[in-house]
Symmetry: C2
Subunit: 359 residues, 2 copies
């Protein structure tokens, strides 16, 4: 089974997702600069996985700091956290994970520990927290799967599988395991439900055809790859019972940032009266932002569009617009599936409720 | 200036559009089998250009037939026409052009010509008809441009250019010159109007980024390439004043077959209250089909999706759905711009009217 992120004891081992589906190569990340680069280049991607990766990145950035330099350590920790936060702007899990690590570190400094042990203990707690996040991600995704499958199971019919459409990859390879959007599929399959998934290829970086199709195939779930612009056709042909996607950040009002193209899919789903579900761990919900308008949208290199797949596909010097994400307004979202339950409109109240639940 | 199709005296010279934008290579087509292959492989593409290419293909298929074998010639002509009609199924211009050539040929046979000259004369008239279609296409596209610009000019503002979005290529390289969807842009630019065009790249074969962006750039029209899945975003940002596309076949009720992805764009345009215009020579209007449901949709090789750009972008043996066209229902079409004027709903009446006009 493919492992998105593991801790070797010395390094964070990442599956290099830029090489899928033709090569499965693991890289050992041993410094914060390597982790920054891995996040930036999408070696590791998917909001939940980015969060965990960043947590290990913080540890890697401070682990060699001299144990006898407390003040310097505090400064270094701050510097590493700031640095890793610049790797990608949209997925809130990145900031959530870094803040969580910072919180752990600050708690320690104010506790009763022998002064000579503070730095060493802090390093250990940071690593422990990163490892805890790795473990938690499994449980959270599993729980999203269990809540999600309750929404999808009623779509089953005697005629055949439950036909879903997904965009980008919010599967096991976007998380530690299970995934968010695909978790209900994996959990449902364990329960004997049959699924078939249309995977939008998801230009420009093709996470849908390269990664979603790959992991579904590996897990025995029937999948059909389509170009992004074919989603309307398969919906018009009655082949899609529900859309399910992940998210990089949900605003307090339920607006959802996700991979570019998600907004279009949501509008099409509305046009054809197809439910549009978003799977989101509560770590992706950013109650500090009132609406999606405040979510920063990453702009990426034009060459992803013009030379993305080994061939020049646009004239040289062509002007290109390449936002990596878009924002789907809450009114197009049927429900948001979290690890604590399913949130529906009005989202201001339901998302706040989900974020407060501990179960 | 690039020439989609020219007649050299001995051959139909085609710009090989599969090589754009990195190479501009012309190929001389000297037989009907070469022409079939050129149409099938999209060396020449775009409904109007396919029609003209097929007309030359018919001539190339009969020109070497012995002048003294009238009966054999009739059989051969029939065979060549049937054969060329199998190259691609969706663009009605292909069948329209072939039928037009057949009509010319049958008229000649019943006219008063010295028996020994019938075959030779028929060949010449077929060539003349193909050349006439080449000329006509120029005039028709120019006329579409003039009618279309009347719809687009009111969108001009003092703030900047008229922002359009187009899908696939219905420009000069889809016709002999000017294009259909882009004709209003070229005609408007001559009149001093400023335009900016968002070109959907148009997966899987990227006619938008490879061809539309290329020809607009060559013609000095500002263009921005986007992935297909970014159309919703640019519309949501208020950056699109109108959508304009071409068509491969319009049914009697106004349903429009065009490059896969057009349906999605039309739904998005409706969602954002943006006019959605279709440019169509009357040769693309098929009054024999009551609705778009009867339009045959070409399915193409899965490898266009999985290996289309020089790199394997989906797992081996991935299931793929690759329809080359979709059908946009008439209720999403704001107007259909023909060489005889602008048709609006109810399309049954207005399209019939356009097809009967001679001006």
């Amino acid at each position: 089974m493919l492992q998105t992120i593991t801790w070797t004891g010395q390094a964070a081992r990442l599956l290099d997702q830029t090489k899928l589906p033709t090569e499965t190569i693991y890289v050992d990340i041993t410094s914060e600069t390597q982790m920054w680069d891995a996040i930036k280049r999408l070696v590791v991607r998917g909001a939940p996985a980015i969060g965990v990766a960043a947590a290990f990145g913080v540890y890697l950035g401070v682990r060699d700091w001299p144990d006898d330099d407390q003040i310097g350590f505090g400064k270094r920790l701050e510097e590493v956290c700031r640095y890793l936060a610049t790797s990608r702007p949209t997925a809130v899990n990145l900031f959530w994970a870094i803040e969580r690590i910072q919180r752990v570190a600050s708690t320690i400094r104010s506790a009763e520990i022998e002064p000579a042990q503070v730095v060493r203990t802090t390093k250990q707690r940071i690593l422990d927290e990163a490892l805890a996040m790795l473990e938690e991600d499994n449980r959270i995704c599993r729980s999203i799967g269990e809540h999600g499958v309750k929404l999808l199971a009623p779509l089953a019919s005697s005629q055949g599988p439950i036909n879903l459409l997904t965009h980008c990859n919010a599967g096991g390879l976007a998380t530690v395991r299970y995934g968010t959007a695909l978790a209900p599929v994996y959990v449902g399959a364990e329960q004997g439900l049959k699924f078939h998934v249309f995977a939008d290829e998801t230009r420009p970086l093709l996470q849908g055809s390269r990664i979603t199709a790959f992991e579904l195939q590996q897990n025995g779930i029937p999948v059909t790859v389509i170009c992004d612009n074919m989603a309307a056709t398969v919906m018009s042909e009655g082949k899609v019972a529900a859309v399910i996607v992940g998210t990089d950040r949900v605003a307090a009002n339920g607006d959802v940032a996700n991979k570019i193209g998600t907004l279009g899919v949501a509008i099409l789903a509305r046009h054809y009266n197809i439910p549009f579900y978003v799977a989101a761990p509560t770590s992706s919900i950013d109650l500090s932002l009132p609406t999606g308008k405040q979510i920063p949208i990453e702009q990426r290199d034009a060459r992803e569009v013009t030379e993305g797949m080994g061939r020049t596909t646009a004239p040289p010097a062509a002007q290109v617009y390449n936002p990596a994400f878009d924002v789907t307004p809450a009114n197009l979202v049927t429900a948001i599936i979290t690890e604590h339950g399913v949130a529906v409109a009005p989202y201001e109240a339901s998302l706040k409720d989900m974020c407060q639940r501990k179960d």
